[in-house]
């Protein structure tokens, strides 16, 4: 094991299978550090969605179940009912969270189910080859918006802001970015602690990059991420 990998990572599944330059790996490193800092590796269970998220099925040395598209939230809501002492994390992409799984996400927040939902937002359906997602911003080209996303498909979808409207006041809702890993780790820690200490819902959206489908190099990817951060404000949603 190198000196930089989180201790909670499963070294047998490394190097990982994400595309070169994928933002998931950066997000998962901070999640790993957050789990290490809180010393909760033995108390945590992770549910993951399909899409690129499914590559997390054996990413950590932690009990993990890879579920079905958009269904990670209800699975972890059920798990937490059976196992209230465990820490339940649901890891998903923007499609799973805000399109096919939105109904369950909204209701989990509304009911204040004590689970932590982590959404990696890279503005596209990446595993299927870069289609339009609810979070794709106006004008962005994808394989299903070849001339740029028209406003008739909606502007970029602001999930944390939506959830904030209906979530219990004890919930914790925030947006981080892989451009600021330290802040991201701290937000993840706060989110997990909100589950354990307040027995309440928590939610983190992580702005991320997708060089493969964005067709960007490293520099261009982070330039676009900067633009995303202008539209999607970083920090706790209060």
């Amino acid at each position: 094991m190198d000196n930089f990998s989180p201790k909670s990572w499963n070294q047998k599944s490394k190097p990982h299978f994400f595309c070169p330059g994928c933002g998931h790996a950066i997000a998962l490193k901070q999640l790993g550090y957050a789990i290490d800092d809180l010393a909760i590796q033995q108390k945590t269970t992770i549910g993951i969605d399909i899409g690129c998220s499914l590559l997390v099925w054996d990413f950590f040395n932690i009990d993990t179940v890879q579920t079905h598209h958009g269904r990670t939230t209800p699975v972890m809501v059920g798990y937490k009912i059976a196992k209230p002492q465990r820490i339940a994390l649901a890891y998903t992409g923007d499609g799973g969270a805000y399109a096919i799984g939105l109904q369950s996400l909204v209701h989990a927040a509304f009911r204040n189910n004590p689970v932590t939902v982590i959404v990696v937002n890279n503005e596209n359906y990446a595993m299927t080859g870069g289609q339009l997602s609810p979070t794709t911003e106006t004008g962005i080209k994808t394989t299903t918006s070849p001339s740029g996303k028209d406003l008739k498909f909606g502007p970029g979808f602001k999930g944390p802001e939506l959830l904030h409207q209906i979530a219990n006041e004890k919930s914790f809702i925030a947006r981080g970015s892989i451009s600021n890993p330290v802040q991201l780790k701290n937000l993840l820690i706060k989110a997990i602690k909100n589950q354990t200490d307040n027995n309440s819902f928590s939610f983190i959206e992580i702005l991320s990059i997708c060089p493969t489908n964005w067709k960007t190099d490293a520099e261009q990817s982070f330039e676009r991420l900067k633009e995303m951060e202008k539209y999607y404000p970083i920090g706790e949603i209060k």
Binding site: T67, H68, A82
Partner: protein, 346 residues
């Protein structure tokens, strides 16, 4: 507690069955004619704090919520019907893939779509073969209130013993009929256990594979297990089949009507028997073949088109037997009608 006689509806019997099977959690969404199972469970949970429930945003969440509970090691179930049963195919398929002991009580209603609200036998295909897999799910069909209670307990036992998703089929008439039943308390319960085991060496469960070969190996093992488990799972009832030359095949409430009908048909003298599958999937093939040994003609009677018939004819493929299908999708049968139809085709 000793066995006791009580006057209850089918839906009440289903709730009592789930409780006596050791279920601790129900996730559900109201739908006629299964709503009373959710209501009944919630009423029991008000008295018994060990029982938990969640009325979810839809049946998909109910089904996946149940899967989450199972992963944590508690017995859980849902109850639904028709369009809700369709939405439950999504979690049922995941349960089939991951071999999770999902239990669903499906009170059939008329379809397709919203259809009618009380009765049909049109959810046999859905229960057994409704997923995007090969139908490795156990499906029971109850034909009386007492049997519904017993099969719900059996469903939890089978699901946790053999790790197949398991469905108990009833219908709205059965669910809402009140009758005096003797509740036979289960002699043995298969205990639940955490499927995500919380060991130092973690469990990693996946529902998606990257190569055909690796998934093929998983499916091959599942299919081998299915065949191995089948003899212990299958259940059926054969009535007056030893000398039968004519056989009626029916399940659920239609089989109850058929049972009454064969008395009216002076069945022994006329050599008419009844085969009633209690498991529709897997089918008790050996018992069916035995019952059909001397049979020249089989009447397959169902409140659906070709759903039971396909299962039966597949088992008896290549035989010389004449099949007569009497299908009334989403409508019931009286014993008198069955007698008339059999005499007409006699």
């Amino acid at each position: 507690m000793p066995d006791k006689k009580i006057f209850i509806t089918g839906n009440e019997a289903a709730v009592l069955g789930a409780i006596d099977a050791g279920a601790e959690v129900m996730f559900g969404y109201p739908i006629t004619p299964a709503t009373e199972i959710l209501q009944g469970w919630v009423a029991k949970a008000e008295e018994n704090k060990k029982l938990q429930y969640l009325q979810t945003e839809d049946e998909i969440a109910a089904g996946f919520g149940v899967l989450g509970v199972l992963l944590g090691g508690k017995k859980a179930f849902t109850a639904s019907a028709g369009p809700g049963h369709i939405l439950l195919q999504d979690p049922l398929s995941m349960a089939e893939n991951l071999r999770l002991p999902f239990v669903g009580i499906m009170m059939q209603r008329g379809g397709p779509s919203t259809g009618t609200v009380n009765f049909s036998q049109q959810e046999v295909n859905l229960a057994a073969f409704g997923g995007n897999g090969d139908g490795l799910r156990i499906v029971y069909s109850a034909s009386s209130v007492g049997e519904l209670y017993e099969l719900v307990i059996q469903a939890f036992n089978t699901a946790w013993q053999y790790r197949w998703p398991t469905i108990v089929l009833g219908d709205g008439y059965l669910g809402k009929t009140r009758s005096t039943v003797l509740l036979k308390k289960p002699r043995q319960l298969i205990p639940a256990y955490p499927i995500l085991e919380e060991k130092t060496e973690p469990t990693h469960l996946r529902n998606c594979y990257s190569s055909e070969e690796s998934f093929g190996e998983v499916l091959k093992k599942n299919i081998a297990d299915w065949h191995k488990d089948k003899p212990a799972i299958v259940r059926s009832e054969s009535l007056q089949t030893e000398e039968a030359e004519t056989l009626i095949v029916a399940h659920g409430l239609v089989a109850s009507a058929a049972k009454e009908a064969i008395t009216g048909l002076n069945a022994k003298k006329n050599k008419i028997g009844l085969f009633r599958p209690i498991t529709l999937n897997p089918l008790d093939s050996d018992a069916l073949k035995k019952a059909a040994q001397k049979v020249k003609k089989i009447f397959i009677i169902e409140s659906a088109l070709n759903q039971l018939a396909r299962i039966i004819k597949y088992e008896l493929a290549g035989s010389e037997i004449e099949f007569i299908e009497i299908a009334k999708p989403a409508e019931g049968f009286t014993p008198e009608e069955i007698i008339t139809r059999i005499k007409q085709n006699g």
